[in-house]
Amino acid sequence: MTATREPGGDLLFRMEGISKRYGGVRALENADLPVQAGRIHAILGENGAGKSTLIKIMAGVVAPDEGRMLMDGREVSFASPAEANAAGIACIFQELSLIPDLSVADNIAISAPPRRFGLIDRKAQRRLAEEALARAGADDIHPRTLVKDLPLSRRQMVEIAKALARNPRILILDEATSALTASDVAKVFAVLKRLRAEGMALLYISHRMHEIAELADDCTVFRNGRKVATYAAGTRSDAEVVEMMIGREYSNVFPPKPARARTGETPILELRNLSWGERLRDISLTIARGEVVGLGGLDGQGQRELLLALFGVLRGCTGEVLVEGKPVRVSSPAQARSERIGMALIPEDRKTEGLMLPMTVRENLSFAALDRVSRAGVIDKTQEDRRIEEMVRLLAIKTAGVDIPVGALSGGNQQKVVIAKWLMRGPRIILLNDPTRGIDVGTKQEIYALLRRLADDGASILFYSTDYDELIGCCDRVLVLYDGQVVNTLEGDGITEHALIASALNIGDRIRAQGGAA
């Protein structure tokens, strides 16, 4: 192996015409992907572009609807992650696949622990784990530590060691560096380059452009489930790549934003220097009456934690929260939703945190507002019916009746029920955690219109979305978070896809550092 890479090394694996749908949502459409030995192939694309589906298919987690996969020229199919593993494909997932209650060594050796007389040989396993950790550049981790006692960045290193212990021919890294510290990233990069030199094929999924520039030999861009292009690294400019990721299709799905001056008004919600451990650092923000403020940035930079902190779920937060200029303490969701504060949180996962799926639409709708429709602790049925009918009409919830289980509704209508449930309380401050994930375009559009209407009626909205288009289309202002900090605030016409991506990747770091030093 030489340091310079020839285009077109040995073709190890190929995907041809792979498609996958989830219900009505097209996740991947007719995708082709060549994977060559001894090369690092970067996969680029926005959230929801189909990257995750692609690697899940390669890793045997989901089966494709159409298309075929070839390994060494022979057609293969994987019914389970175990089969993909056996074929020589190891994957480092974004959601970790480690067992929290087992030790590091147990985890590294989990799929095929060394055995003597049929029993696991602890000593051999220990050696194997130490070797794998050393190979991953993480020999500071003791193999006997329980995984749950390790911080996230160390767990990620264990995950990498675990994949290496299987001696894969193809290694897939899905945002594997997102939780790592800078020094770990450098170590991992050195490891990846060595593996490449040893002839391994690597698929590298990342949002971080500079990482891809440093590592990749080939790049493939996906958008909306389709492959846009495969090209040799370094042959396209950053601007061209970003354009390929965004595409140029824009349509009028967003309601118009009002032009307003909001000077001198007391903000409805104000945060001063909110911190929570390492995850939220010194966050200050204000939201005026009728304003829609977005939270942007890469996934997992503290946006969820910020919403949870506001809603009283996190313990040990420091800083000040003011509602209409008055300091408040919120230490539980029950307090957050009280009349005094009037907050509502539309949670990220409607199936676990938003709805009781087997219960009826009626019950789900009135949970959060039972105190508003009861007198002396007894539910006033007429009033409840009236309010529920109002909500079903307001949000155009398509349901065969309010007495069927909410689980029987489509995803979009379920999400409407979650939103309606909180609107029944008439909240002043509405926090939304990625509310349009996994729902159809039509419903998305209705939700955008609803948010603007609520704002016009005086609500203050804090809106986290992983979809840049949404932030641009819906928000009056967008705060971009990186590593638990607000790194940039975009306003009005300044909210553009380029600006969002640039701030999310924190490319502006150098410029600001210079400005600060001057």
Partner: protein, 326 residues
């Protein structure tokens, strides 16, 4: 960190259970009119091992994040069966023992098949199978009766070399023959992994279904060893409903006391054994203090509550309240 610290960290629950047992047992023997004699130890051991076997059975299932509410009934069913079969010549007796153990294995395998392949919830599935096992026990022994090979019974409930309680020796042997291989096999490892995070275990491509099935099956086997010992102590078989239920519930208490997490993935059979012995000793404490026996359930409940609270301190460190529900 030093190696021994990892050993302590890995076995924290088990060590806590041992400590609780030792503390309670010292209080018990210190106040016992006879002190710690071979006879006192023998009686305590014989009372303790019954629950210990059932608690071991419960542990196997709880590790996989399941629960087995039929262990007490398997215990009763095998007791009734043993009172028919474990009799006669040494050869016949041996065959009888094998048949009883097989019966336990079968009961456990049925539980496992229903839960894993039928995808029913462990709680409901084992309530139903428990009722079935008790029904069969009733048919075997509508009235208490039967007998057992008394030579074998006396040997296994007596003292070895006049000092060591034989029942404890058998308990240790069972741990060596059943638990040690299981916990060090790929299946045991997988059972823990599935209990800790089934999704991650699936992603790691390990045999979840087979491992859980094995855990349920071995649970049946362990409960039947308990049933055998019950027969050795009582010389009879009795389809005692209340006793079966009590053993099921006590086994859960013993398991928690023994540092096994009801959420799965954590703990060991060794801890559960000490949990069971501690639980039994708590029940006997009153007698050495000469209190009215009517106080026993109340007192036992209070001590149990205090003991299990020791394991709950971790919750005070949680910083994201949503983690309370994980």
């Amino acid at each position: 960190m030093k190696e021994w610290r990892y050993l302590v960290a890995e076995n924290r629950g088990t060590l806590l259970a041992v400590a609780i047992f030792v503390a309670i047992f010292i209080i018990y023997t210190a106040n016992h009119p006879a002190g710690l004699t071979a006879n006192v130890a023998q009686t305590a051991a014989n009372k303790g091992v019954l629950l210990a076997f059932v608690a071991m059975a419960q542990t196997m299932v709880v590790i996989t994040a399941g629960i087995d509410l039929s262990v007490g009934m398997i215990f009763i069913l095998t007791n009734c069966l043993a009172s028919w079969l474990v009799v006669g010549t040494p050869g016949e007796t041996a065959l009888g023992v094998v048949a009883v153990l097989l019966c336990g294995l079968l009961c456990g395998a049925l539980n496992g098949a229903i839960v894993i392949f039928g995808r029913l919830q462990p709680i409901v599935a084992t309530i139903a199978t428990g009722a079935i096992y008790f029904g069969i026990a009733l048919m075997l022994r509508p009235f208490p009766g039967g007998s057992v090979n008394e030579d074998l019974a006396d040997a296994l409930t007596g003292k070895l070399f006049g000092i060591i309680p034989s029942s404890l020796v058998v308990l240790a042997l069972v741990v060596l023959v059943v638990w040690v291989p299981f916990s060090r096999s790929l299946y045991g490892r997988t059972a823990y992994a599935a209990g800790s995070s089934e999704a991650a275990a699936y992603m790691s491509g390990i045999p979840i279904g087979r491992s859980k099935f094995l855990a349920y099956t071995l649970a049946g086997l362990l409960a039947s060893i308990g049933g055998l010992f019950l027969t050795f102590f009582t010389y009879t078989g009795e389809a005692a409903f209340a006793s079966g239920n009590a053993y099921t519930l006590f086994s859960i208490a013993a398991v928690v006391l023994g540092g096994v997490s009801l959420f799965g993935g954590r703990g060991s059979v060794i801890g559960a054994i000490f949990g069971a012995l501690a639980f039994r000793t708590i029940g006997d404490l009153l007698f050495v203090f000469d209190f009215d026996p009517l106080w026993q359930p109340l007192f036992q409940g209070v001590v149990l509550l205090v003991a299990v609270s020791l394991g709950a301190f971790g919750l005070f460190r949680v910083r994201n309240r949503l983690e309370w529900f994980l």
